[in-house]
Amino acid sequence: MAKEQIAAPKTQEGFTTWLKDNLPVVIVSVFSLALLIAVYIKGGPPQIFNILVTGGMWSLLATGLALVFGVMNIPHFAHGESFMVGAFVGYFVFNPLNQILFENPNPLLKVTAPILAILAAGAVGAVLGVIIERIIFAPLRHRTKQGWVMNAFLLTVGISFVLTNGTTLVLGPNFRGIPRFYDVDAVELAGAFIAVDRIMATAIALVTIALLWFFLRQTRTGRAIRAVSQDETGAQLVGINLDFIHTLTFSLATATAAISGASLLFMFQAYPTVGVTPLYFSWYVVMLVGLGNIAGAIVGGFIVALLQSSTQLFIGLSWQSVVPTVVMILVLVMAPSGLFGSEVKGVQEQ
Protein backbone atom coordinates (compact mmCIF):
# COMPACT_ATOMS: atom_id res chain seq x y z
CA MET A 1 0.00 0.00 0.00
CA ALA A 2 2.80 2.33 0.91
CA LYS A 3 4.27 1.69 -2.49
CA GLU A 4 1.15 2.87 -4.29
CA GLN A 5 1.12 6.05 -2.31
CA ILE A 6 4.64 6.80 -3.39
CA ALA A 7 3.99 5.86 -6.97
CA ALA A 8 1.03 8.19 -7.40
CA PRO A 9 1.73 11.49 -5.71
CA LYS A 10 -0.04 14.69 -6.63
CA THR A 11 1.60 15.69 -9.88
CA GLN A 12 2.55 19.16 -8.77
CA GLU A 13 4.07 17.98 -5.50
CA GLY A 14 5.91 15.18 -7.26
CA PHE A 15 7.36 17.59 -9.76
CA THR A 16 8.56 19.96 -7.03
CA THR A 17 10.38 17.19 -5.15
CA TRP A 18 11.86 15.87 -8.36
CA LEU A 19 13.07 19.37 -9.22
CA LYS A 20 14.54 19.81 -5.76
CA ASP A 21 16.41 16.49 -5.94
CA ASN A 22 17.81 17.13 -9.38
CA LEU A 23 18.30 20.89 -9.24
CA PRO A 24 21.99 21.00 -10.26
CA VAL A 25 21.40 18.64 -13.18
CA VAL A 26 18.38 20.65 -14.35
CA ILE A 27 20.21 23.97 -14.15
CA VAL A 28 23.23 22.58 -15.99
CA SER A 29 21.10 20.98 -18.71
CA VAL A 30 19.01 24.09 -19.31
CA PHE A 31 22.07 26.33 -19.34
CA SER A 32 24.02 24.00 -21.66
CA LEU A 33 21.11 23.62 -24.04
CA ALA A 34 20.64 27.39 -24.26
CA LEU A 35 24.35 27.86 -24.90
CA LEU A 36 24.36 25.09 -27.49
CA ILE A 37 21.48 26.71 -29.37
CA ALA A 38 23.23 30.09 -29.24
CA VAL A 39 26.43 28.53 -30.60
CA TYR A 40 24.53 26.79 -33.36
CA ILE A 41 22.79 30.00 -34.44
CA LYS A 42 26.01 32.00 -34.52
CA GLY A 43 28.53 29.37 -35.62
CA GLY A 44 26.54 26.69 -37.43
CA PRO A 45 27.39 22.98 -37.73
CA PRO A 46 31.21 23.37 -37.81
CA GLN A 47 31.15 24.90 -34.32
CA ILE A 48 28.98 22.06 -33.05
CA PHE A 49 31.44 19.61 -34.49
CA ASN A 50 34.26 21.51 -32.83
CA ILE A 51 32.56 20.98 -29.49
CA LEU A 52 32.31 17.26 -30.22
CA VAL A 53 36.02 16.98 -31.04
CA THR A 54 37.32 18.89 -28.03
CA GLY A 55 34.55 17.60 -25.77
CA GLY A 56 35.37 14.01 -26.67
CA MET A 57 39.00 14.63 -25.87
CA TRP A 58 38.36 16.35 -22.51
CA SER A 59 35.90 13.59 -21.61
CA LEU A 60 38.37 10.85 -22.35
CA LEU A 61 41.15 12.56 -20.39
CA ALA A 62 38.86 13.49 -17.50
CA THR A 63 37.54 9.93 -17.28
CA GLY A 64 41.10 8.74 -16.71
CA LEU A 65 41.62 11.34 -14.00
CA ALA A 66 38.32 10.47 -12.32
CA LEU A 67 39.18 6.79 -12.42
CA VAL A 68 42.62 7.26 -10.90
CA PHE A 69 41.27 9.58 -8.24
CA GLY A 70 38.22 7.49 -7.41
CA VAL A 71 39.97 4.14 -7.21
CA MET A 72 43.46 5.05 -6.03
CA ASN A 73 42.97 8.45 -4.41
CA ILE A 74 45.74 9.94 -6.52
CA PRO A 75 45.38 13.54 -7.73
CA HIS A 76 47.09 12.78 -11.01
CA PHE A 77 49.16 15.71 -12.29
CA ALA A 78 51.21 13.68 -14.75
CA HIS A 79 48.18 12.86 -16.88
CA GLY A 80 49.29 15.39 -19.51
CA GLU A 81 52.57 13.50 -19.87
CA SER A 82 50.64 10.36 -20.77
CA PHE A 83 49.05 12.45 -23.51
CA MET A 84 52.52 13.64 -24.57
CA VAL A 85 53.91 10.10 -24.69
CA GLY A 86 50.93 9.04 -26.80
CA ALA A 87 51.54 11.91 -29.21
CA PHE A 88 55.22 10.95 -29.62
CA VAL A 89 54.46 7.26 -30.09
CA GLY A 90 51.79 8.13 -32.64
CA TYR A 91 54.26 10.31 -34.51
CA PHE A 92 57.10 7.80 -34.51
CA VAL A 93 54.85 4.96 -35.64
CA PHE A 94 52.88 6.87 -38.24
CA ASN A 95 55.78 8.65 -39.93
CA PRO A 96 57.73 5.57 -41.12
CA LEU A 97 54.46 3.97 -42.21
CA ASN A 98 53.64 7.10 -44.16
CA GLN A 99 57.10 6.95 -45.73
CA ILE A 100 56.46 3.40 -46.89
CA LEU A 101 53.12 4.52 -48.27
CA PHE A 102 54.79 7.33 -50.15
CA GLU A 103 57.19 4.91 -51.83
CA ASN A 104 54.68 2.21 -52.68
CA PRO A 105 51.01 3.12 -52.22
CA ASN A 106 48.87 0.44 -50.67
CA PRO A 107 45.17 1.15 -50.02
CA LEU A 108 44.94 -1.22 -47.05
CA LEU A 109 47.90 0.33 -45.26
CA LYS A 110 46.59 3.76 -46.07
CA VAL A 111 43.45 3.09 -44.09
CA THR A 112 45.09 1.20 -41.25
CA ALA A 113 48.26 3.25 -40.69
CA PRO A 114 46.64 5.91 -38.46
CA ILE A 115 44.77 3.24 -36.53
CA LEU A 116 47.99 1.28 -36.04
CA ALA A 117 49.71 4.42 -34.75
CA ILE A 118 46.90 5.14 -32.30
CA LEU A 119 46.73 1.55 -31.08
CA ALA A 120 50.52 1.52 -30.61
CA ALA A 121 50.19 4.67 -28.50
CA GLY A 122 47.53 2.97 -26.40
CA ALA A 123 49.71 -0.10 -25.91
CA VAL A 124 52.79 1.93 -24.94
CA GLY A 125 50.59 3.98 -22.58
CA ALA A 126 49.26 0.83 -20.92
CA VAL A 127 52.78 -0.51 -20.37
CA LEU A 128 54.01 2.86 -19.10
CA GLY A 129 51.09 2.94 -16.66
CA VAL A 130 52.00 -0.49 -15.31
CA ILE A 131 55.66 0.50 -14.90
CA ILE A 132 54.87 3.78 -13.10
CA GLU A 133 52.34 2.16 -10.79
CA ARG A 134 54.56 -0.81 -9.96
CA ILE A 135 57.76 1.08 -9.25
CA ILE A 136 56.37 4.29 -7.73
CA PHE A 137 52.90 4.00 -6.23
CA ALA A 138 52.77 0.34 -5.18
CA PRO A 139 55.84 0.54 -2.88
CA LEU A 140 54.53 3.74 -1.27
CA ARG A 141 51.08 2.21 -0.76
CA HIS A 142 52.58 -0.85 0.89
CA ARG A 143 54.77 1.21 3.18
CA THR A 144 52.23 3.65 4.55
CA LYS A 145 48.84 5.14 3.80
CA GLN A 146 49.51 8.17 5.96
CA GLY A 147 49.30 11.46 4.12
CA TRP A 148 48.64 9.46 0.98
CA VAL A 149 46.82 12.11 -1.08
CA MET A 150 49.53 14.72 -0.58
CA ASN A 151 52.39 12.27 -1.14
CA ALA A 152 50.77 10.83 -4.24
CA PHE A 153 50.15 14.33 -5.59
CA LEU A 154 53.81 15.31 -5.13
CA LEU A 155 54.91 12.08 -6.77
CA THR A 156 52.79 12.75 -9.85
CA VAL A 157 54.28 16.23 -10.13
CA GLY A 158 57.71 14.64 -9.93
CA ILE A 159 56.83 12.10 -12.60
CA SER A 160 55.63 14.94 -14.79
CA PHE A 161 58.98 16.77 -14.40
CA VAL A 162 60.99 13.65 -15.12
CA LEU A 163 58.98 12.72 -18.21
CA THR A 164 58.94 16.24 -19.66
CA ASN A 165 62.64 16.88 -19.10
CA GLY A 166 63.62 13.34 -20.01
CA THR A 167 61.85 13.75 -23.34
CA THR A 168 63.55 17.10 -23.93
CA LEU A 169 66.90 15.50 -23.17
CA VAL A 170 66.42 12.58 -25.54
CA LEU A 171 64.34 14.09 -28.35
CA GLY A 172 64.99 17.80 -27.94
CA PRO A 173 62.42 20.56 -27.60
CA ASN A 174 61.37 20.42 -31.26
CA PHE A 175 57.80 20.28 -32.47
CA ARG A 176 56.98 17.14 -34.43
CA GLY A 177 53.67 17.25 -36.16
CA ILE A 178 51.85 15.65 -38.99
CA PRO A 179 49.49 17.75 -41.09
CA ARG A 180 46.93 15.00 -41.25
CA PHE A 181 46.39 11.29 -40.80
CA TYR A 182 44.08 10.87 -43.77
CA ASP A 183 45.14 12.40 -47.04
CA VAL A 184 41.61 12.73 -48.35
CA ASP A 185 39.15 15.55 -48.96
CA ALA A 186 36.99 16.92 -46.20
CA VAL A 187 33.54 15.42 -45.86
CA GLU A 188 30.45 17.53 -46.31
CA LEU A 189 28.25 17.26 -43.27
CA ALA A 190 25.07 19.33 -42.89
CA GLY A 191 26.36 21.97 -45.24
CA ALA A 192 29.82 22.27 -43.68
CA PHE A 193 33.14 20.72 -44.64
CA ILE A 194 34.76 18.74 -41.88
CA ALA A 195 38.20 17.10 -42.07
CA VAL A 196 38.16 13.32 -41.87
CA ASP A 197 40.76 13.51 -39.10
CA ARG A 198 38.36 15.40 -36.87
CA ILE A 199 35.63 12.90 -37.49
CA MET A 200 38.03 10.06 -36.72
CA ALA A 201 39.30 11.72 -33.53
CA THR A 202 35.74 12.22 -32.31
CA ALA A 203 34.79 8.66 -33.17
CA ILE A 204 37.86 7.27 -31.41
CA ALA A 205 37.18 9.31 -28.27
CA LEU A 206 33.51 8.30 -28.18
CA VAL A 207 34.22 4.63 -28.87
CA THR A 208 36.95 4.50 -26.21
CA ILE A 209 34.67 6.13 -23.64
CA ALA A 210 31.86 3.74 -24.53
CA LEU A 211 34.15 0.71 -24.23
CA LEU A 212 35.49 1.94 -20.90
CA TRP A 213 31.96 2.52 -19.63
CA PHE A 214 30.85 -0.93 -20.74
CA PHE A 215 33.93 -2.47 -19.14
CA LEU A 216 33.30 -0.77 -15.79
CA ARG A 217 29.56 -1.52 -15.74
CA GLN A 218 29.20 -4.94 -17.25
CA THR A 219 32.31 -7.02 -16.68
CA ARG A 220 33.52 -8.86 -13.61
CA THR A 221 36.82 -6.98 -13.51
CA GLY A 222 35.13 -3.63 -14.15
CA ARG A 223 32.78 -4.28 -11.29
CA ALA A 224 35.80 -5.08 -9.11
CA ILE A 225 37.34 -1.70 -10.02
CA ARG A 226 34.19 0.08 -8.88
CA ALA A 227 34.11 -2.07 -5.75
CA VAL A 228 37.64 -0.97 -4.82
CA SER A 229 36.63 2.67 -5.30
CA GLN A 230 33.74 2.19 -2.87
CA ASP A 231 35.24 0.02 -0.13
CA GLU A 232 38.76 -1.33 -0.17
CA THR A 233 38.32 -3.65 2.80
CA GLY A 234 35.07 -5.00 1.39
CA ALA A 235 36.85 -5.62 -1.91
CA GLN A 236 39.60 -7.60 -0.21
CA LEU A 237 37.03 -9.61 1.73
CA VAL A 238 35.38 -10.85 -1.46
CA GLY A 239 38.74 -11.89 -2.87
CA ILE A 240 39.71 -8.92 -5.02
CA ASN A 241 43.46 -8.40 -5.34
CA LEU A 242 43.95 -4.70 -4.63
CA ASP A 243 47.40 -4.57 -6.22
CA PHE A 244 46.06 -5.95 -9.48
CA ILE A 245 43.11 -3.53 -9.57
CA HIS A 246 45.30 -0.51 -8.77
CA THR A 247 47.81 -1.37 -11.48
CA LEU A 248 45.05 -2.06 -14.00
CA THR A 249 43.31 1.23 -13.21
CA PHE A 250 46.46 3.29 -13.59
CA SER A 251 47.33 1.48 -16.78
CA LEU A 252 43.86 2.10 -18.25
CA ALA A 253 44.04 5.79 -17.43
CA THR A 254 47.50 6.16 -18.97
CA ALA A 255 46.47 4.19 -22.07
CA THR A 256 43.36 6.29 -22.71
CA ALA A 257 45.33 9.52 -22.34
CA ALA A 258 47.96 8.20 -24.75
CA ILE A 259 45.22 7.27 -27.24
CA SER A 260 43.85 10.79 -27.18
CA GLY A 261 47.38 12.18 -27.55
CA ALA A 262 47.95 10.12 -30.68
CA SER A 263 44.54 10.67 -32.24
CA LEU A 264 44.90 14.45 -31.92
CA LEU A 265 48.37 14.58 -33.44
CA PHE A 266 47.02 16.69 -36.31
CA MET A 267 45.80 19.33 -33.82
CA PHE A 268 48.53 19.23 -31.17
CA GLN A 269 52.05 18.56 -32.32
CA ALA A 270 54.28 16.28 -30.31
CA TYR A 271 56.68 18.23 -28.08
CA PRO A 272 57.75 17.76 -24.45
CA THR A 273 55.29 20.19 -22.85
CA VAL A 274 52.28 19.46 -25.05
CA GLY A 275 50.53 17.87 -22.08
CA VAL A 276 50.05 21.06 -20.10
CA THR A 277 46.87 22.29 -21.81
CA PRO A 278 45.12 18.89 -21.85
CA LEU A 279 46.09 18.38 -18.20
CA TYR A 280 44.60 21.67 -17.06
CA PHE A 281 41.44 21.29 -19.05
CA SER A 282 40.81 17.76 -17.85
CA TRP A 283 41.33 19.01 -14.29
CA TYR A 284 38.77 21.77 -14.92
CA VAL A 285 36.36 19.05 -15.93
CA VAL A 286 36.80 16.82 -12.89
CA MET A 287 36.75 19.76 -10.48
CA LEU A 288 33.66 21.14 -12.13
CA VAL A 289 31.66 17.93 -11.91
CA GLY A 290 33.08 16.46 -8.71
CA LEU A 291 36.26 14.43 -8.22
CA GLY A 292 36.05 10.72 -8.82
CA ASN A 293 32.70 10.89 -10.61
CA ILE A 294 33.12 9.03 -13.90
CA ALA A 295 29.70 9.61 -15.44
CA GLY A 296 30.08 13.28 -14.47
CA ALA A 297 33.50 13.46 -16.12
CA ILE A 298 32.08 12.27 -19.43
CA VAL A 299 29.31 14.87 -19.42
CA GLY A 300 31.64 17.52 -17.98
CA GLY A 301 34.09 17.16 -20.86
CA PHE A 302 31.44 18.30 -23.29
CA ILE A 303 30.26 21.10 -20.99
CA VAL A 304 33.78 22.52 -20.79
CA ALA A 305 34.18 22.23 -24.57
CA LEU A 306 30.88 24.04 -24.99
CA LEU A 307 32.03 26.81 -22.64
CA GLN A 308 35.30 27.14 -24.53
CA SER A 309 33.79 27.31 -27.94
CA SER A 310 31.02 29.72 -26.95
CA THR A 311 33.60 31.98 -25.30
CA GLN A 312 35.65 31.87 -28.45
CA LEU A 313 32.58 32.70 -30.51
CA PHE A 314 31.02 35.45 -28.40
CA ILE A 315 33.90 36.99 -26.43
CA GLY A 316 37.14 36.20 -28.17
CA LEU A 317 39.70 33.46 -28.64
CA SER A 318 42.05 34.70 -25.94
CA TRP A 319 39.33 34.34 -23.31
CA GLN A 320 38.71 30.67 -23.90
CA SER A 321 40.70 29.53 -20.87
CA VAL A 322 39.51 32.37 -18.67
CA VAL A 323 35.78 31.82 -18.88
CA PRO A 324 35.75 28.09 -18.03
CA THR A 325 38.04 28.81 -15.08
CA VAL A 326 35.75 31.55 -13.80
CA VAL A 327 32.74 29.28 -14.18
CA MET A 328 34.59 26.56 -12.31
CA ILE A 329 35.47 28.93 -9.44
CA LEU A 330 31.86 30.11 -9.21
CA VAL A 331 30.57 26.54 -9.18
CA LEU A 332 33.04 25.53 -6.48
CA VAL A 333 32.09 28.53 -4.34
CA MET A 334 28.44 27.49 -4.47
CA ALA A 335 28.84 23.69 -4.59
CA PRO A 336 32.23 22.72 -3.13
CA SER A 337 31.89 19.07 -4.15
CA GLY A 338 31.26 19.96 -7.78
CA LEU A 339 28.15 20.10 -9.94
CA PHE A 340 27.09 16.49 -9.54
CA GLY A 341 28.97 15.94 -6.28
CA SER A 342 30.38 12.59 -5.31
CA GLU A 343 31.57 11.08 -2.14
CA VAL A 344 35.15 10.09 -2.57
CA LYS A 345 36.39 7.30 -0.41
CA GLY A 346 39.05 8.05 2.14
CA VAL A 347 39.85 11.65 1.33
CA GLN A 348 38.17 13.04 4.42
CA GLU A 349 39.89 10.80 6.94
CA GLN A 350 43.32 10.91 5.42
Binding site: R223, A227, D231, G234, Q236, L237, V238, G239, I240
Partner: protein, 234 residues
Protein backbone atom coordinates in the same frame (compact mmCIF):
# COMPACT_ATOMS: atom_id res chain seq x y z
CA UNK B 1 38.92 -27.08 10.23
CA UNK B 2 40.25 -23.90 11.82
CA UNK B 3 42.83 -23.74 14.51
CA UNK B 4 44.59 -20.79 16.17
CA UNK B 5 47.83 -21.61 17.97
CA UNK B 6 49.22 -19.11 20.49
CA UNK B 7 48.15 -16.21 18.34
CA UNK B 8 49.53 -12.78 19.24
CA UNK B 9 48.12 -9.91 17.25
CA UNK B 10 47.24 -6.22 17.35
CA UNK B 11 47.77 -2.86 15.71
CA UNK B 12 51.23 -1.30 15.42
CA UNK B 13 52.51 -1.02 18.98
CA UNK B 14 49.25 -2.05 20.60
CA UNK B 15 49.03 -5.75 21.21
CA UNK B 16 45.44 -6.94 21.56
CA UNK B 17 45.58 -10.73 21.50
CA UNK B 18 47.81 -12.68 23.86
CA UNK B 19 48.44 -16.35 23.08
CA UNK B 20 44.96 -17.03 21.83
CA UNK B 21 44.34 -20.66 20.92
CA UNK B 22 41.05 -21.96 19.68
CA UNK B 23 39.66 -24.65 17.47
CA UNK B 24 36.60 -24.94 15.26
CA UNK B 25 35.67 -28.36 13.87
CA UNK B 26 33.89 -29.18 10.62
CA UNK B 27 30.24 -28.18 10.70
CA UNK B 28 30.45 -26.64 14.14
CA UNK B 29 28.74 -23.41 15.18
CA UNK B 30 31.10 -21.76 17.64
CA UNK B 31 30.66 -18.51 19.55
CA UNK B 32 33.36 -16.10 20.65
CA UNK B 33 32.11 -13.96 23.48
CA UNK B 34 33.61 -11.23 25.58
CA UNK B 35 33.30 -7.63 26.72
CA UNK B 36 34.04 -4.60 24.53
CA UNK B 37 37.71 -4.28 23.68
CA UNK B 38 38.52 -7.89 24.52
CA UNK B 39 39.83 -8.54 21.01
CA UNK B 40 36.98 -10.52 19.44
CA UNK B 41 36.96 -8.55 16.22
CA UNK B 42 40.75 -8.50 16.14
CA UNK B 43 40.71 -12.29 16.28
CA UNK B 44 38.43 -12.48 13.26
CA UNK B 45 40.40 -9.80 11.40
CA UNK B 46 43.63 -11.68 12.01
CA UNK B 47 42.13 -14.91 10.66
CA UNK B 48 40.79 -13.05 7.61
CA UNK B 49 44.23 -11.52 6.93
CA UNK B 50 43.22 -7.91 7.38
CA UNK B 51 45.34 -7.61 10.52
CA UNK B 52 48.73 -9.31 10.50
CA UNK B 53 49.61 -11.64 13.37
CA UNK B 54 52.73 -10.81 15.41
CA UNK B 55 53.37 -14.44 16.21
CA UNK B 56 51.54 -17.74 16.41
CA UNK B 57 49.75 -19.67 13.73
CA UNK B 58 46.41 -19.75 11.96
CA UNK B 59 45.76 -23.18 10.46
CA UNK B 60 42.92 -23.78 8.03
CA UNK B 61 42.20 -27.24 6.63
CA UNK B 62 45.58 -28.39 7.89
CA UNK B 63 47.51 -25.64 6.10
CA UNK B 64 49.07 -22.64 7.85
CA UNK B 65 47.56 -19.43 6.43
CA UNK B 66 49.21 -16.94 8.78
CA UNK B 67 50.30 -13.81 6.93
CA UNK B 68 48.39 -14.59 3.72
CA UNK B 69 46.82 -11.46 2.22
CA UNK B 70 43.08 -11.06 2.76
CA UNK B 71 42.03 -11.70 -0.82
CA UNK B 72 43.81 -15.08 -0.88
CA UNK B 73 42.32 -16.08 2.48
CA UNK B 74 38.90 -15.29 1.07
CA UNK B 75 39.59 -17.43 -2.00
CA UNK B 76 40.53 -20.40 0.22
CA UNK B 77 36.96 -20.56 1.45
CA UNK B 78 36.93 -18.30 4.51
CA UNK B 79 34.28 -15.63 4.37
CA UNK B 80 34.42 -12.74 6.83
CA UNK B 81 31.29 -10.70 7.42
CA UNK B 82 32.71 -7.68 9.19
CA UNK B 83 31.09 -5.55 11.82
CA UNK B 84 31.20 -2.52 9.50
CA UNK B 85 29.72 -4.74 6.75
CA UNK B 86 31.96 -3.10 4.10
CA UNK B 87 29.19 -3.20 1.52
CA UNK B 88 29.57 -1.40 -1.80
CA UNK B 89 27.02 1.28 -1.03
CA UNK B 90 26.68 2.74 -4.53
CA UNK B 91 25.86 -0.63 -6.03
CA UNK B 92 22.65 -2.61 -6.09
CA UNK B 93 22.04 -5.68 -3.94
CA UNK B 94 22.50 -7.83 -7.02
CA UNK B 95 25.87 -6.30 -7.88
CA UNK B 96 27.03 -6.65 -4.28
CA UNK B 97 26.09 -10.31 -4.30
CA UNK B 98 27.76 -10.94 -7.66
CA UNK B 99 30.91 -9.39 -6.28
CA UNK B 100 30.65 -11.82 -3.38
CA UNK B 101 31.27 -14.50 -6.00
CA UNK B 102 34.16 -12.55 -7.56
CA UNK B 103 36.56 -15.46 -7.14
CA UNK B 104 34.16 -17.71 -9.07
CA UNK B 105 35.06 -17.16 -12.70
CA UNK B 106 32.20 -19.03 -14.42
CA UNK B 107 29.25 -16.73 -14.94
CA UNK B 108 26.70 -19.60 -14.86
CA UNK B 109 27.92 -20.76 -11.45
CA UNK B 110 27.69 -17.16 -10.18
CA UNK B 111 24.10 -16.86 -11.36
CA UNK B 112 23.16 -20.26 -9.94
CA UNK B 113 24.49 -19.29 -6.52
CA UNK B 114 22.63 -16.00 -6.82
CA UNK B 115 19.33 -17.84 -7.46
CA UNK B 116 20.01 -20.06 -4.46
CA UNK B 117 20.75 -17.08 -2.20
CA UNK B 118 17.58 -15.34 -3.35
CA UNK B 119 15.62 -18.49 -2.40
CA UNK B 120 17.22 -18.38 1.03
CA UNK B 121 16.63 -14.64 1.48
CA UNK B 122 13.45 -13.75 -0.45
CA UNK B 123 13.60 -10.26 1.02
CA UNK B 124 16.82 -9.59 -0.89
CA UNK B 125 15.25 -10.68 -4.14
CA UNK B 126 12.54 -8.06 -3.65
CA UNK B 127 15.26 -5.48 -3.18
CA UNK B 128 17.64 -6.74 -5.84
CA UNK B 129 17.95 -3.42 -7.68
CA UNK B 130 18.06 -1.16 -4.64
CA UNK B 131 21.35 0.55 -3.78
CA UNK B 132 22.64 -0.97 -0.55
CA UNK B 133 23.48 2.48 0.78
CA UNK B 134 19.75 3.27 0.91
CA UNK B 135 18.70 0.13 2.78
CA UNK B 136 17.79 -0.32 6.43
CA UNK B 137 20.28 -1.73 8.92
CA UNK B 138 18.70 -5.19 9.01
CA UNK B 139 18.58 -5.47 5.24
CA UNK B 140 22.18 -4.37 4.93
CA UNK B 141 23.23 -7.01 7.40
CA UNK B 142 21.33 -9.65 5.42
CA UNK B 143 23.05 -8.43 2.27
CA UNK B 144 26.46 -8.67 3.92
CA UNK B 145 25.81 -12.21 5.14
CA UNK B 146 24.41 -13.19 1.75
CA UNK B 147 27.43 -11.64 0.02
CA UNK B 148 29.66 -13.65 2.31
CA UNK B 149 27.86 -16.82 1.22
CA UNK B 150 28.18 -16.12 -2.50
CA UNK B 151 31.69 -17.55 -2.62
CA UNK B 152 30.43 -20.89 -1.28
CA UNK B 153 32.67 -20.66 1.80
CA UNK B 154 33.38 -23.58 4.05
CA UNK B 155 33.97 -21.31 7.03
CA UNK B 156 32.16 -18.08 7.85
CA UNK B 157 33.40 -15.55 10.38
CA UNK B 158 30.49 -13.39 11.43
CA UNK B 159 31.17 -10.25 13.46
CA UNK B 160 28.39 -8.83 15.64
CA UNK B 161 25.45 -9.29 13.30
CA UNK B 162 23.02 -7.99 15.93
CA UNK B 163 24.86 -4.69 16.44
CA UNK B 164 22.44 -1.79 16.13
CA UNK B 165 19.45 -3.95 15.23
CA UNK B 166 16.09 -3.98 16.95
CA UNK B 167 15.41 -7.32 18.73
CA UNK B 168 13.05 -8.92 16.18
CA UNK B 169 15.49 -8.23 13.36
CA UNK B 170 18.26 -9.77 15.46
CA UNK B 171 16.30 -13.01 15.47
CA UNK B 172 15.92 -12.82 11.70
CA UNK B 173 19.67 -12.61 11.40
CA UNK B 174 20.18 -15.50 13.83
CA UNK B 175 17.66 -17.57 11.84
CA UNK B 176 19.71 -16.90 8.74
CA UNK B 177 22.83 -18.14 10.52
CA UNK B 178 21.05 -21.29 11.66
CA UNK B 179 19.97 -21.92 8.07
CA UNK B 180 23.61 -21.62 7.09
CA UNK B 181 24.67 -24.06 9.75
CA UNK B 182 22.06 -26.52 8.45
CA UNK B 183 23.66 -26.24 5.01
CA UNK B 184 26.85 -27.56 6.56
CA UNK B 185 28.74 -24.27 6.75
CA UNK B 186 31.05 -23.95 9.73
CA UNK B 187 30.51 -20.68 11.59
CA UNK B 188 32.57 -18.71 14.08
CA UNK B 189 30.29 -16.05 15.53
CA UNK B 190 31.26 -13.01 17.56
CA UNK B 191 28.34 -11.56 19.49
CA UNK B 192 27.37 -9.21 22.28
CA UNK B 193 23.94 -10.74 22.70
CA UNK B 194 25.30 -13.50 24.94
CA UNK B 195 22.03 -15.07 25.98
CA UNK B 196 20.68 -15.73 22.48
CA UNK B 197 24.10 -16.67 21.17
CA UNK B 198 24.63 -19.37 23.76
CA UNK B 199 21.21 -20.77 22.90
CA UNK B 200 21.96 -21.33 19.24
CA UNK B 201 25.67 -22.25 19.20
CA UNK B 202 27.32 -25.61 19.89
CA UNK B 203 30.40 -24.38 21.70
CA UNK B 204 31.69 -21.10 23.06
CA UNK B 205 34.94 -19.38 23.94
CA UNK B 206 35.11 -16.48 26.36
CA UNK B 207 37.72 -13.86 25.53
CA UNK B 208 38.70 -11.29 28.16
CA UNK B 209 41.49 -8.75 27.83
CA UNK B 210 42.94 -10.57 24.85
CA UNK B 211 43.07 -13.99 26.48
CA UNK B 212 40.79 -17.01 26.29
CA UNK B 213 39.52 -17.50 29.83
CA UNK B 214 36.97 -20.23 29.31
CA UNK B 215 35.73 -22.67 26.71
CA UNK B 216 33.17 -25.43 26.51
CA UNK B 217 29.79 -26.49 25.17
CA UNK B 218 27.43 -23.50 25.09
CA UNK B 219 25.06 -25.04 27.64
CA UNK B 220 27.84 -25.48 30.19
CA UNK B 221 29.19 -22.02 29.55
CA UNK B 222 25.73 -20.59 30.05
CA UNK B 223 25.43 -22.35 33.41
CA UNK B 224 28.79 -21.06 34.66
CA UNK B 225 28.68 -18.63 37.57
CA UNK B 226 31.16 -16.16 36.11
CA UNK B 227 29.26 -15.97 32.83
CA UNK B 228 25.92 -15.66 34.59
CA UNK B 229 27.27 -12.78 36.67
CA UNK B 230 29.29 -10.90 34.09
CA UNK B 231 27.32 -11.42 30.87
CA UNK B 232 23.82 -12.52 31.66
CA UNK B 233 23.26 -10.41 34.74
CA UNK B 234 21.48 -13.16 36.63
Amino acid sequence: MLELKDLNSGYDFLQVLWDVSLKVDDGEFVALIGPNGAGKSTTLRTIAGIVQAKSGEVIFDGKPITGEPAHLVSRMGISYVSEALNLFTDMSVRENLLLGAYAVKEREVQLETLEYIFELFPRLEERRDQLTGTMSGGERKMTAIARGMMSNPTLMLVDEPSLGLQPNLTYDVFDALLKLRDQGVTILLVEQNVNATLDITDRAYILEQGRIVMEGPSKEVKADDHVRNAYLGI
